[in-house]
């Protein structure tokens, strides 16, 4: 059924709300109170933004490990390269020199005689 524009306007004019709309403040206070009664989903985590954190942390750990490895004190001479020396063969003296700069230790045996019968055990 086609209703003329004039009749439609009149019909709409008669459609007054039965109840006056509530004030906005009251409406929203009620809305928020109702919303608090329902479980709200947490906002989605920004995974894309944090995706680089794990590889960055791994890379940092590797860099740290390499740094510790490279910067750790070299296991070089600490003054006791020679723990003990026992010259079994015949000799007159033993000199021991340690040079930290050249990372070397020298044991020099003076007048050592290694020919059979001149000392030594088996």
């Amino acid at each position: 059924m086609k209703v003329s524009d004039n009749k439609l306007d009149q019909a709409l004019a008669r459609q007054k709300p039965g109840v006056e709309p509530r004030p906005a403040d009251e409406f929203w206070a009620d809305f928020k109170a109702r919303a608090r009664l329902r479980t709200q989903d947490a906002p989605a985590r920004p995974r894309q933004a944090l995706a680089w954190v794990t590889p960055l942390a791994c890379a940092a750990a590797l860099v740290l490990a390499v740094g510790v490895y490279m910067l750790s004190p070299p296991r070089d001479i600490n003054g006791d390269v020679i723990k003990s020396v026992e010259v079994v063969a015949s000799h007159s003296a033993v000199f021991i020199m340690e040079d930290k700069e050249s990372k070397s230790a020298i044991v020099w045996i003076v007048d050592m005689e290694t020919d059979p019968g001149n000392g030594g055990d088996t």
Binding site: T54, P55, C58, A61, L62, A65, V66, Y69, P74, R75, D76, I77, N78, D80, V81, I82, K83, S84, V85, E86, V87, V88, A89, H91, M97, D99, S102, K103, S104, A105, I106, V107, W108, I109, V110, D111, M112, E113, T114, D115, P116, G119, G120, D121, T122
Partner: protein
């Protein structure tokens, strides 16, 4: 996946560490003399120390060998000498024998790259020297 990759990389890093990968002990028999002759080839890393510390002008490589560390009674024949090593790098026990008889025993802490030079063994026109390096 990332954790596994990181673990693999750390494993490779640690495996590449000499102390874990396993060092080797290099032993060289060197002749020191004041007469011309011989070649210093193979002594470039230690020739300066030898020349600066010992009263000899010429150094030549007579023989060389290597053994894995830690040594487990490993034996090297160098010239007329037998070098027997035992133990870890930090407490290396070294025994030098000549014709089956022990002429020298020593215990040393031999860090990477440190030269342990033991000399004074008799030789014609000079002395013989043993050079130990762990690397």
């Amino acid at each position: 996946m990332k954790t596994q990759l990181t673990a693999a990389m750390l494993f490779l890093l640690l495996a590449a560490h000499p102390a874990i990968a396993g060092n080797r002990l290099s032993i060289r028999l060197v002749k020191a003399s004041n007469t011309e002759g011989g070649s210093a080839a193979g002594l470039s890393d230690v020739i300066k120390t030898l020349a600066d510390s010992l009263p000899y002008k010429h150094f030549s490589l007579v023989a060389s060998g290597t053994m894995p560390l830690p040594a487990r009674g490993s034996v090297q024949q160098l010239g007329g000498y037998t070098v027997e090593c035992d133990g870890a790098q930090s407490k290396l026990s070294i025994k030098v024998k000549r014709r089956g008889k022990t002429v020298l025993r020593k215990s040393a802490n031999l860090p990477d790259g440190t030269h342990l030079i033991v000399g004074g063994f008799p030789a014609a026109d000079g002395k013989l020297i043993l050079v130990f390096v762990a690397k």
